[in-house]
Amino acid sequence: MKLKPLISARQAAANMAELEPKYTPQEALVEADRCLYCFDAPCIMACPTGIDIPSFIKKIANGNLTGSGRVILQANPLGGSCARVCPTSALCEGACVMLDRDEKPIKIGRLQRYATDHVFENKIKVLEPAAKKLGKSVAVIGGGPAGLGCAAELAQLGYDVTIFEKEKQAGGLNTYGIAYYKLRPEDSLAEVELVKSLGVKIKTGVEVGRDIKVAQLEKQFDAIFVGIGLGRTYRLGIPGEDLPEVFEALDFIKLLHTQPLHKVPVGKRVAVIGCGNTAIDAVTQSKRLGATDAVIIYRRGEKDMPAYPYEYEIAKADGCAFLFHTVPVEVVSEKGRVTGLKLARTRTNAQGKLEVVKGSEFIEPFDMVIKALGQEPQAVLLKKLFPKVKLNKDGTVIRSGESGQTSLKHVFAGGDCANGGREVVNAVGEGKKAARGIHKWLTGERVAGPIQATRLGVAGPPFGSGLDKPVRVPELEAEYFGKK
């Protein structure tokens, strides 16, 4: 059967309501007051963009919401979406010292959202373009989190930046690929506007390599940043994969972000193949769009799933089902329409390898199949754009962890195309790092990090933010690092 929307506009609005709504002023104040205002706080170190978290929380407690938003967005122009989508329990909140006092960590993500919402809702200008232009220009390929992070940092350093984005709107997965109840497209687009307000030009609907040649960019710009993310979802390689009711997870989620929710067609029995965080987004949203059954099909066991535990909890709470140790063998169809999946059981053999149990095949009825197997690296596209650039074996681009510089001196990279697929906040952090790398390469100047309390006395390699080693008291730093 052809897929149809299953719920009304009102139901859709209720089902897709935010999981964690904005704090009320009272809630924010109570939570902000819990923060100890640590010095050299571990939450800062755990943030890939190095947001001075105690500072922005203290500002909320002090009733300085604009200043709070400024602290966040200066360090991370996508601070509003990161507040919503970051796996905070694995990052800042996971590093909160409150955990050592046997208390709940400060709700950093929700406070961050509270402060950034204030700035965006009231259209307060917290970031300014550079007062002095450097007369140099940079092309950014890809308007996702990495590209936006890079562009915002460069613009504030005085560069002329142009982003080339193939989609209709910039923002990348933030605009098109995150569960609706976590992040709405309008919140992502507000951040795109913020980056634009710094003087960054964004050319949407322009695909580099097709609409404009790299050679032209190289002639026109002093440096290029590549933040092209990942490619298509891996193929299943089974019969029936190309039937019309078989979707890639990101295409399905994009549907939710490009039309009214009650117009999104969905199956009554939906199978989602894979068990990462995107699979969870797909299965929960199918359920919330009206599917009677939404089932994750995963070849390994519950303990092996790549999804974060809190994501798993969301899916369970939504009433999604899980078929562990199961693989799809064939998409079953009638008259060109999906009617089910032929599945087989798996087990771990004596050698510790996963194997399909012979003769275990069975058919489950489904009318929609969503593939969420992870995305391919952009090896092909990267080679097409930059034939001489060196790639890792896994298809990601080789670049310096410190500066983002690739094997081509004028080309810098960051985000999923370089790290193989991590969080939004990693992409922003890498974009920002690359911006500083570009600045150093073009001007020889090193950007002094924002003066904030960090990492004094740690001689080990950078972890967490990994931004340039912040210097609070240069001579003390020298003393500590000199001892090594």
């Binding site: 104040l29 109570v30 007051d33 100890l36 205002y37 640590c38 010095f39 050299d40 706080a41 571990p42 170190m45 755990a46 407690a61 996971g94 590093a95 010292v97 409150m98 955990l99 050592d100 006092r101 309390a453 990492r455 004094l456 006395g457 740690v458 001689a459 080990g460 972890f463 967490g464």
Partner: protein, 436 residues
């Protein structure tokens, strides 16, 4: 079970906890409720010639999420007639003969004082408290703190009162004065039987930055009000000690100022109060708080083997002395329990910026990490040779018993500033070198 009863200058009550003269002691209804909850006494809201109050009377000083750390008011004395008040005192006393009911009084002329003293006795009050403390409103009319700030006037008025006194007289002192001991001595000279302190402190709690008018807001204006609540406890304790240790005073004391629980009360008693009075904590939580005050004080006395409240009265008075008598050779240093340290580094930054640069941030490998999880998280380490033992780090540390101050043997004999100066004059020692 310790004996919690007290006898303050002849006023007896089954426990040392009295409701202070304030909004909670405004009516017989409230006093009944207070006594039902267990309060040992009530000092009636000050009785005087009828006044008119403004609307909007209280304001508060909040810190972080904590409400009413400090509290102020611009309410005047009772706005009910003296007849009503004296009649209700009589009712109360009849219903609660074992509790103390004290009439708080404020008036002007000798004749008026005599009249009020007579009516207080007639209604059966166990004693009176002379309100020489209110710092707002009434002082503009020559009463309240206007009296309490002038020892000669205190002495004169107490003298008038004592001419007509047949029941014990307590003089309530204002803290808005350079030396509260001078005021207490004047009360003594006038013949008072006891003093109570402190009344409220002159204050403005906050300015509304939109209206540019402080709180409490009264039709575009405000005025200074009387400050009280937990924040004033340290000031009250100090003034209490000043009076309790003054050899020229020698009067029983009813302690007041920021008392919220049995511990606060015990500290007042240790510094020389016979009993205590409570207001702000009641205004915040109601009369029910007295249950734990009684319970807690009783358990404390039992745990210390003390038979009665009077056993502990004044026990800490003698440990407070002039600075010049303190031992210059005493030394303590901070010590961090790394099993408890959570790595907030507040001790580090407090010492680095606010004290003596005696804490370093070191790699955790040298000290272990306690329960921390971040492998590179630097942790604080005390530099004992720089530590002056100021206590700051132990005060900012958010974990109980994580940073403790440990006594260090210096080998030097106890030597006060006085001893030191004497030794210098006698040529027995060289000057101690200045701190680098």
């Amino acid at each position: 079970m310790a004996d919690l009863s007290i006898n303050l200058a002849g006023i007896k009550s089954p426990n040392p906890f009295w409701v202070a003269s304030a909004p909670p002691s405004n009516t017989a209804y409230q006093c009944h409720r207070a006594f039902e909850a267990g309060w040992g006494g009530v000092v009636w809201k000050t009785i005087g010639d009828p006044i008119v109050n403004v609307s909007s009377r209280y304001s508060s000083h909040n810190i972080g999420g904590i409400r009413m750390v400090g509290f102020n008011n611009i309410e005047l004395i009772s706005d009910r007639s003296p007849e009503t008040n004296f009649r209700e005192i009589e009712e109360c006393k009849k219903r609660w003969p074992d509790r103390a009911v004290i009439a708080s009084l404020m008036t002007d002329t000798r004749e008026h004082w005599h009249d009020y003293m007579k009516r207080s006795r007639d209604c059966g009050a166990d004693g009176v408290e002379l309100n020489f403390g209110c710092p707002h409103g009434m002082c503009e009319r020559g009463m309240g703190s206007a009296v309490g700030q002038n020892p000669d006037v205190i002495e004169t008025i107490v003298g008038w009162v004592m001419e007509a006194a047949e029941i014990p007289v307590i003089v309530k002192l204002t803290p808005n004065i350079t030396s509260v001991a001078h005021a207490a001595r004047a009360a003594k000279r006038g013949g008072a039987n006891a003093v109570s302190l402190i009344n409220t402190i002159n204050s403005i709690t906050q300015v509304n930055l939109d209206t540019m008018c402080p709180e409490p807001y009264v039709a575009g204006r405000s005025t200074h009000g009387g400050y009280c609540g937990p924040a004033v406890k340290p000031i009250a304790l100090n003034m209490l000690h000043e009076v309790a240790s003054d050899p020229e005073v020698g009067l029983p004391i009813s302690g007041i100022g920021g008392i919220s629980n049995w511990k606060d009360a015990a500290e007042f008693i240790a510094l020389g109060a016979t009993g205590v009075q409570v207001c702000t904590a009641i205004m915040h939580y109601g009369f029910r708080i007295v249950e734990d005050m009684i319970d807690g004080l009783n358990d404390y006395l039992d745990s210390k083997g003390m038979k009665s409240v009077s056993d502990m009265c004044g026990k800490a008075v003698h440990s407070v002395n002039k600075w010049e008598t303190l031992d210059l050779n005493y030394k303590r240093v901070a010590s961090i329990d790394y099993d408890k340290c959570i790595g907030c580094n507040l001790c580090y930054i407090a010492c680095e910026d606010g004290a003596h640069q005696a804490i370093g941030l070191v790699k955790p490998t040298t000290q272990g990490l306690g329960p921390g999880r971040l492998p590179g998280k630097p942790i604080p380490e005390i530099k004992e040779d720089h530590c002056v033992g100021c206590n700051l780090c132990s005060l900012v540390c958010p974990v109980d018993h994580c940073i403790t101050m440990v006594d260090v043997k210096t080998g030097g004999k106890p030597m006060s500033w006085k001893d030191y100066q004497a030794a210098l004059v006698a040529g027995k020692m060289k000057p101690i070198p200045a701190h680098p």
